[in-house]
């Protein structure tokens, strides 16, 4: 079997290797993604975001159990931060999901952010492609959970669960600051705690204000106690209903098209940049340029424009 067939058959090793290939951005990445692309598009992709310790991993673990109960296959990408000092990382999300470690229908992959900002890693999008092609029905992305910058996960998922928990102190602040723009569904986890009801009231209040005109568009809110496995069935029901709504209203389709257009822009920018950089030998010449600009010989914009002009004039575009 060749590499693509093995991935398509969901063979563990092949899928894992493909994920490494996209993660390390090794030479064959582009070809791999191109070949996998037509095989995908079937999986539903969920993003799960929320502050560290809010219970993302615990909830994902519980959701996996439910999805497996329906006979669906589940892929998980769990992102943790890389150390800015050593570049190393400790990837601990899957610890909470280890009860599924031996289940062939579940594939969990931990990824380090490797310096990428936005709560995911640079390769997360491609990793989703791989798991999609491997036939997983659901793909769940667990973000690092640092807050507002996690907007990125919206662009990778069909829907996003935003987890809020009691006892974070600054809830209202967070709500005002626009974190709630990220989520499609709001999950108030740790509902076993007394203050959970308070958060619920705050979330309802914010949503009532926001959707005073069109209350039917209000985001669904669920209460869970993931650690105690409570409220998860209701959450899943809410997700299903929401998904159905996305689908029937055409928003799912639109979201996926939007995702692809963002992807196209990204690829375009990446390719232009790498080709221009290569041709101009930017890496080796940067210091020279800095000197030239510092010496006052050239102003920065005009200088760079000149370089680009030379590229477009002389480079034989491949």
């Amino acid at each position: 079997m060749n590499r693509i067939d093995s991935i398509r058959a969901g063979e563990l090793r092949a899928v894992a290797r493909a994920l490494t290939c996209v993660e390390n951005d090794s030479g064959s990445r582009e070809a791999l993604i191109d070949e996998l692309f037509p095989l995908g598009g079937r999986a539903l992709v969920w993003g799960v975001t929320g502050a560290p310790g809010s219970g993302k991993s615990t909830l994902v673990d519980r959701l996996i159990t439910r999805l497996r109960g329906r006979g669906s296959r589940v892929g998980v990408i769990a992102v943790d931060p890389s150390s800015p000092f050593s570049g190393g990382a400790i990837l601990g999300d899957r610890l909470r999901m280890q009860s599924h470690a031996e289940d062939e229908g579940v594939f969990i992959r931990s990824m380090a952010s490797r310096g990428y900002l936005g709560g995911v890693s640079g390769a997360t999008g491609d990793a989703v492609r791989v798991l999609d092609a491997a036939g997983f029905d659901y793909i769940i992305i667990e973000t690092i959970g640092v807050g507002q910058t996690e907007i990125e996960v919206m662009g990778l998922s069909d829907l996003v669960l935003l987890i809020l928990v009691p006892g974070m102190g600054d809830e209202i602040q967070a709500l005002k600051a626009g974190v709630m723009e990220i989520g499609d569904l709001f999950v108030i986890n740790k509902s076993d705690k007394d203050e959970a009801r308070k958060i619920r009231a705050e979330v309802d209040y914010v949503l009532d204000m926001k959707y005073a005109e069109n209350p039917q568009d209000k985001n669904p809110v669920a209460m869970t106690a993931a650690a105690l496995d409570q409220g998860v069935d209701d959450l899943l029901e809410a997700i299903d209903a929401y998904t159905e709504k996305l689908r029937s209203s055409g928003r799912l389709e639109k979201r996926r098209r939007d995702r692809l257009s963002a992807e196209i822009h990204r690829i375009l920018a990446e390719k232009i940049e790498s080709q221009v950089r290569g041709w101009l030998r930017v890496d080796e010449r940067t210091q020279q340029w800095v000197d030239a600009i510092l010496d006052g010989v050239h102003p920065p914009y005009r200088f760079i424009q000149k370089q680009l002009d030379s590229f477009f004039r002389e480079a034989k575009v491949r």
């Binding site: 050593s86 570049g87 031996e102």
Partner: protein
């Protein structure tokens, strides 16, 4: 750029003494590796499946209960069965000198006993780098 090495630090068996495993996990992170840590009481199957899904280059096993002669080679054998014998297995913990040669012949490539400086572990990992990068 050199490949980022990924290591699964795992505790098979039932003992809960994870001081050593956590130290190793943290020290390897500080040395620039990506470390997957899965907590105590992991079955052999769970360790092997995890290692494969995470596509790690190494599995570091830590055990203090004395069950190493059964469990360490158990992991090596299970990797073979899954066609993943290229994943390098090393171990640590309270392991009598006498047991080390036997573990090595059964595929545990290095055994680190208490008091081993972390640099020895790092040196071992780096010494395998060519093997890993040529895969």
């Amino acid at each position: 750029m050199a490949k980022t090495i990924r290591i699964l630090v795992a505790k098979p068996g039932l003992d809960g003494h994870d001081r050593g495993a956590k130290y190793i996990a943290r020290a390897l992170k500080d040395a620039g590796y990506e470390v997957i840590y899965t907590g105590i009481r992991q079955s052999i199957q769970a360790i092997v499946k995890t290692a494969i899904q995470e596509d790690v280059d190494f599995i570091g096993l830590s055990l203090l209960s004395g069950a190493h002669n059964e469990l360490f080679p158990g992991v090596v054998d299970a990797l073979k069965k899954e066609g993943a014998e290229d994943i390098i297995v090393f171990g640590g913990g309270v392991i009598p000198e006498d047991d080390i040669p036997g573990l090595k012949t059964r595929g545990v490539e290095a055994v680190f006993t208490p008091g081993t400086p972390i640099q020895d572990v790092i040196d071992f990992i780096e010494a395998q780098r060519p093997r890993i990068e040529s895969r």
